[in-house]
Symmetry: C2
Subunit: 247 residues, 2 copies
């Protein structure tokens, strides 16, 4: 393997949103999940579960939530779930109740699941598959819980579709290195204002070119516009109902 | 590149906790951070910052918090920070206040940072470096915030040390595939109880062999024992003080 081959692979990531009809073989799914499981996990706790959704009715219902057609059609749909339920069930036998309802455990479950997911994404791309994360399952978390029969002690974080790509996709430029990597102390926006302005111009030009001039919003416009709307207000209530973020 | 070379790399992950004195060159740090930035990000929001800690006083102070000697000595210390501060500062100019204080944004910031971190880990291991995540920075999150001068709108999630390995480490077996990967609906513990009992025995044997018989706790013993203790009770208060998890 060439020294920088993996770094090149990572830097070549793009989201794929159309897949061929070819199904992922069972042995590929297993290989991807095992690669996911090899990611680091906080104190060995492995506080997540991955649900593969193949039932057409369930895929259709999840697509209604996310509104993304690729959730229903083609590709293999994985849903990543923060999971302390198995620890809780094991703890009952040992008469040692666990404290998964603290904010600390919410972070651990979320991080554990995310590290596993990113390993799965890298593994998939390394064998020529394409992937797309589906955060839009959080449009209706309660419904996802119902569809996948997720018990108390668990909650769904996001989905991911992996499959044989039917388009090329394109790499979307990230924030300037200087804006994201700071040394020793936090550096405020005004220290890299110019770099972000240049970045905004490049993002705007990218959209303009790809949409034939129909869209030309900068990165700042896009993310501030999105974060200005109050979205997914029910997430808090749902995770609390599942037993998390209590005191 | 051989077809499964990257999957083999991922499955070969082990934590490295001792590093040689050799420093990571600046161009390597930049390469790793850029690989991290290439990870997927929710709605392009890129809600994280990575702080490289090189100041010996700061490293010493962070080591006091984590109690892990490798935080202070050798390796390059990265701290991953969930960050909506730059979005907030940008939003002020646009007179469009952002809603980063919702549970949804807490999830997005945590997931975005974790995906980037796992890309950094994979990139580092692919060029022969070793890594270790440092969740123990959450032993005193308020102090980490003080040391790194993290403003409202940000909070530290975890650290990672990356460097030239001074030991081999060993791969720690993960939960059985059948326990972690479910199809269509959540499968409760009793459906894979036997597989987890076998796993517990193998983990116990692994510890016994590596400690010359001094330690032989199973996976279940270890994680239930850990989760039974109330730890890091201040995390909730600290993240709220930084502006998160409000209504």
């Amino acid at each position: 393997m060439e020294k920088y081959a993996v770094i090149d692979l990572l830097k070549n990531h793009r989201s794929i949103r159309k897949f061929t009809d070819e199904k992922l073989p069972d042995e590929t799914i297993r290989m991807l999940v095992e690669a996911a499981q090899s990611a680091s996990t906080s104190s060995y706790v492995q506080a997540y579960t991955i649900i593969g959704v193949t039932d057409p009715e369930k895929k259709k219902a999840l697509k209604e939530i996310s509104t993304q057609p690729y959730v229903e059609n083609n590709g293999h749909l994985f849903v990543f779930v923060a999971d302390y339920r198995r620890h809780r069930d094991l703890s009952e036998e040992k008469d040692a109740p666990i404290n998964f309802h603290l904010t600390e455990q919410f972070i651990v479950g979320t991080v554990d699941a995310a590290l596993a997911a990113q390993n799965l994404a890298v593994a998939a791309e390394s064998i020529g598959l394409g992937i797309c994360y589906i955060g839009s399952l959080r449009n209706d978390m309660a419904k996802v819980i119902e569809i996948l029969e997720l018990p108390e002690g668990t909650f769904p974080l996001f989905g991911m579709v992996a499959g044989f790509p039917a388009h090329e996709g394109s790499v979307k430029e990230r924030l300037p290195f200087e804006a994201v990597y700071h040394e020793n102390t936090y550096q405020h926006l005004d220290e890299t204002k110019e770099e972000i302005e240049d970045y905004d111009e490049r993002v705007s030009a990218y959209y303009k070119e790809r949409t034939g001039g129909k869209r030309d919003d900068s990165w700042s416009d896009q993310v501030v516009g999105m974060l200005n709307k109050k979205q997914r207000l029910d997430v808090d209530e749902v995770v609390k109902k599942q037993g998390f973020l209590g005191q």
